[in-house]
Point group: C2
Chain length 315, copies 2
């Protein structure tokens, strides 16, 4: 089977994960790509259910994303937000007018009893996306960030306080009731390759791995399982990954990330800029250019990763 005919499951968070997903979308048939998305960032905001990571993936894969930010929609207006401000509200979370339609349709379907998985499929269809975008679970999970200024809901930490509080620990509220959906189970069961995107390991990937049965379902598969570093030259490409690692007591490096995933992965993709990486932990690894600026970069990296996996038979 050609590498691009294989069934790929990729675990992703927000912006960084969506980039690799877009790369994979460019080189795979839609039916061969399943993107399992973190929902620990989801929250209720002004009566609407907002799923930031899912929406970043939806907007990126449909070509509607605001490329400057990496999230939100392009050509977006903020009439509703301004009206909320006129009513005396604070509105620290940016909601665009078109973006709000996504949240309204989702919230209505939740009210009617649809599972989040079905809702995301409806949204993906409405945006013309063929790949399978699946939430990590249908149950509500909330990543809670214990910081020096107290425990914060994720979006309070991330957006309202711009990830400046010092993180002491994390917990995933509701995770004990979060089961694997049939869709995630089936995708893992037929996967030929599992990828972990260059997303924040603690804030984006750990909640996915914490879903009841997720790790077991992944480890049950004797397939290549490969993570891509979100750390390049001791820095995060975007967001709080490096700062967070420091605060949690990790060395800020690709090795730390590889070690974090160690029991789960059979291969690791470092960045080519990190020349002095220590590969002594036994995981097979490769150094690639993991910085994805253009859409071509994304397709190129996706292709390089799959080709490497194919050649090395990394199961």
């Amino acid at each position: 089977v050609a590498v691009t005919e294989k069934n790929i499951v990729v675990l992703v968070g927000g912006v960084g994960g969506a980039k690799l997903a877009l790369g994979l979308q460019q080189i795979l048939k839609p039916e061969n790509l399943t993107i399992v998305v973190n929902t620990g960032d989801d929250f209720w905001h002004y009566g609407l259910r907002v799923c930031p990571d899912i929406d970043t993936v939806l907007y990126t894969l449909s070509g509607r994303v605001n490329k400057e930010n990496g999230w939100g929609l392009v050509n977006e207006s903020t009439t509703t937000l301004q009206a909320l401000r006129d009513l005396g509200e604070e509105t620290w979370f940016l909601l665009g007018d078109k973006d709000i339609a996504t949240h309204m349709l989702r919230s209505e379907m939740l009210r009617r009893g649809y599972r989040l998985t079905a809702i995301v499929a409806r949204l993906a269809r409405g945006m013309g996306i063929g790949a399978n975008i699946v939430p990590m679970t249908d149950a509500p999970v909330a990543t809670m960030v214990n910081t020096d200024i107290g425990e914060l809901e994720f979006q309070e930490y991330f957006v309202k306080h711009r990830w400046q509080p010092i993180v002491k620990s994390l917990r995933y509220q509701g995770i004990e009731d979060a089961q694997l959906s049939l869709e995630v189970k089936e995708a893992l069961a037929k996967a030929d390759v599992l990828l972990i995107a260059p997303s924040n390991p603690w804030l984006s990937i750990a909640p996915i791995l914490a879903v009841v049965g997720m790790k077991e379902a992944i480890l049950a598969r004797d397939i290549p399982r490969v993570a891509v570093t979100p750390i390049v030259e001791g820095k995060a490409i975007k967001g709080p990954a490096a700062k967070l690692m420091n605060e949690l007591g990790y060395e800020v490096s690709g090795e730390s990330v590889a070690a974090f995933y160690e029991d789960l992965i059979t291969g690791f993709v470092y960045d080519v800029r990190d020349k002095d990486i220590n590969k002594s932990n036994g995981t097979k690894s490769i150094a690639l250019d993991t910085i994805m600026l253009s859409d071509d970069d994304k397709a190129r990296l996706a292709q390089q990763i799959l080709t490497w996996i194919d050649e090395k038979e990394l199961a």
Copy 2:
């Protein structure tokens, strides 16, 4: 006490009721005016709690209403609605971008456990309205319309089907659990005059009167209780009142409306265009120009009604 120093409570529905409320607002101190609004039209739409009559009153009294329609906001855009359409939705109910902010703030406060009365007060404050706008009850009530094409939720009947189905009967779902709020009780207890606005008696006023204890609380007050006709020359000023009366077997006239309110009112305001009105039913009545086109018309009618009540001592 001068007529404009008296405490006025007015029962209203949507557009017609809001017009009289605006007239009263122009001639009364804000603290002397309480507007009790029908909430039987309220519904969930795309995840948001929409209260059409309350919003019409809010927008009218804050000077933000789209005067051409009588409802909705002026200078409104529909970016979100268009985005919902782009996702493949039908969107038969018009939601403007600024309007959506009202629904979002309300829905969020409902989620947080606030009573609708407190929410409406918050919205009124945010729009700079001094008069007391109070929902008829804090409990959710849904006017259900039994028609020749089956039972419809109110907005389905009214907006989706443009009140074209033939009405057989009405019921107010949830009304048995709808209690008088403290705010409505207090307003009625200190009222010097009770008015019933020229709103649809069956669709707008009847749900208010059906709230548990409402009729009793009104009848307990030995004060002038005066209704204004929504029917002029056998026609409704706006909306389905005349068509509905026909379908329910009533003669379409001010007299029919007066008779509908008979056990409740001590006075009735006909329109001056109806010369041949039969005043034999014992209720004191006056003929006034009840058509309110300009804001001055509204203030004039409000003033005429209160002056008449004052002179006739209609208790």
